[in-house]
Symmetry: C2
Subunit: 450 residues, 2 copies
Amino acid sequence: MPDQTTLTHLQTVTDSLESGATMQTRYLLNGALPAQDVARLLESSPPRERQLLWELIEPSYEGEVLQYLNDDISSQFLKDMDTEQLVAVSEHLENDDLADLLQNLPETVVSEVLASMSTQDRMRVETLLSYPEDSAGGLMNTDTITIRPNITVDIVFRYLRRHSTLPDMTDSLLVVSRSDKLLGTLPLTKLLVSDVNDTVRDIMETEFTAITAESPANEVAQLFEDMDLVSTPVIDSESKKLLGRITIDDVVDVIRDEAEHSMLSMAGLDEDEDTFSPVLKTTKRRAVWLGINLITAFIASYVIGLFQGTLDQVVALAILMPIVASMGGIAGSQVLTLVIRGIALNQIGATNTRWLLNRELIVGLINGLLWATVIAVLTAFWFDNIKIAYIIAGAIVINLLFAAATGTLLPILLKKMGIDPALAGSVILTTVTDVIGFLSFLGLATIFLI
Amino acid sequence: MPDQTTLTHLQTVTDSLESGATMQTRYLLNGALPAQDVARLLESSPPRERQLLWELIEPSYEGEVLQYLNDDISSQFLKDMDTEQLVAVSEHLENDDLADLLQNLPETVVSEVLASMSTQDRMRVETLLSYPEDSAGGLMNTDTITIRPNITVDIVFRYLRRHSTLPDMTDSLLVVSRSDKLLGTLPLTKLLVSDVNDTVRDIMETEFTAITAESPANEVAQLFEDMDLVSTPVIDSESKKLLGRITIDDVVDVIRDEAEHSMLSMAGLDEDEDTFSPVLKTTKRRAVWLGINLITAFIASYVIGLFQGTLDQVVALAILMPIVASMGGIAGSQVLTLVIRGIALNQIGATNTRWLLNRELIVGLINGLLWATVIAVLTAFWFDNIKIAYIIAGAIVINLLFAAATGTLLPILLKKMGIDPALAGSVILTTVTDVIGFLSFLGLATIFLI
């Protein structure tokens, strides 16, 4: 059960480190644990301990581990390596993983590492480097097995047998023309049930889904999810030539990042925010977000300030006003979260926006009336003042309606403007719910109470 | 590009529905679009339109689509079917998907549907039904291809050729003993490069990862991610007998749900919260969350109430106090989000809690001092009162430190208590940051101002 073993191992490793049982630690770090677990161990360790652990990993295994570390940490380790070490590391990496690592290194180092590689590999890696990391080109690997359409199944079998191994996640062979154009795919499951005398052309699938190298990673992920793919070929958009293939293991990472993205963004954090990255770096990242929210807070305070006179006369208002603001904030962020997710899942668009808005307004109204009543009753008893009870009830309903409208329309609008709704949405929403909350409550009070 | 086509199709379908071009709609719904897209179309449609669309889908295709609909919607459709229709649907489903659907139906209907199936299939489905949906047993399928260890590769090829097709996502054959015990796996990529005279025993992999049917879904997902699996056998924990296999396509759904879970829970929503589910159902779900948060709000107000006297004398405090609370809330939820994610990724445990706490306290302190200064300066100018400036600065620092401590320790504590940190965390955190915020600010004011 990985969930437990990882932390158990972390414990074991920590102990063996403290007790100085380095042999055991070495053993655990160099293959006894899957590279991903080792990566997680490193990520889970305070910087000093992390450095110690890293030094215990064999250079030949470092590459394996590096590819699973988040950028913050891996780049820290990579900076400390000389080119020789980098070359050593690169030898144990698949081209796509190597490309990902190189993307974080200075130009000069990159070219030295490339220089150390075989012409073929260098060309392949250079191809990968020419695409952004979050595009199909950046995700793809070049270890495709290609065959010609005119050969027989029997020949294919003999051809495959000449390999010592086939690349991981090879679920289909790619059928290409003499000029490397992709003609079709031949799934192994199909190959294995075909007559040995059939030609590849007879049995290959011509209705395959090929991705162009420029397609963004999230579209690739969507395609894998929709079509239940294990791997899919990547082609050049112009020449239609085969460039490589993308495998599900790389896509799974995209899917997880994508799904986590919204949650982190809504708290003003980014994917490679590392729970253990340098304090100052983290502090800076968070400070920005706090600063942005401070503006929100001051706007809210300014609104309250407008009613200084009213507050002066009825202190109860000061005591109750946070309730109005916070109820609006909660209701709004529920809608916001749902709509942001809906947009990510392509469930929400121009066709159903109006319907959705109406729906959320109704939900907001019902919940508004319900909780307005509850709050009114509680307030009436607490301050023994029926007028304030009516006023807060009214403010709650108004704020929950605004919350519903903002929560629905804001993310759709931001998306249209090309702004990430998850990142900007929550701040703007809170501003709205705070301002409307204080404005409606203190406003109504000024009108009916003073 | 699926991201766009889905909504484009939604548009097309909507138009063709309105214009009464049912032929085209039928065509789109019954195979022209992948079943997942149709499912998303239905999920993206207002209830009335959704019903219309559903009626245009061929009974033979309904099953395909149903399996991709979220439980809310699919169960609505299933309720309206008579057993005959259900049987018709079931014929077009894989066993694991069928089992998932049956899980949402009344006992009597289930048994009728089962009765309509072949003995073999019925037994298989009954096996699947005996495991919870979110366990390995619930995820697995029974379409395994098994072979014996003593036959030669050549025989394996002939045996496979006798199949008309192999199950999707078959990446390896499962080697079993006469008593159905799992002995090893034979990846197709290995099979294809092996000498035809080798026996299966010679080339099979005996160090395979087999999952027991009871393992929870999230551990399965972890395993697939760590080991880059396409499919993996599921065995009975006692008898070690082969029960079936889990494929990556089902695991991908688990991974997405898992990753979305935290984001939705933090807003008090659950996975199958449907953007388009019945208003009253949604309203009820959300009302609960608003109610819980109302308690928080009243606790905060109560704390403010304690300082009625102070507020009466210095109205500026009422204007500024939301700033202290909200800055604490933001800082706290940043830490909370990170720690919740860290726990989910197994990066955080007993071994590094103390280190993490220290780290977050330092981050909190630095940001506290930074923004306390900014806020103090702004306050001093706004109210031209240096004392209040000092007081709010002190309160900000105190609240950000509490926010850091709560954000770090609370989720770890909740996890230990078996409570979902994402669900309970945010409410408790806001309570703390509100209470501490008002308490420290108004408290300090009472001491030094009055």
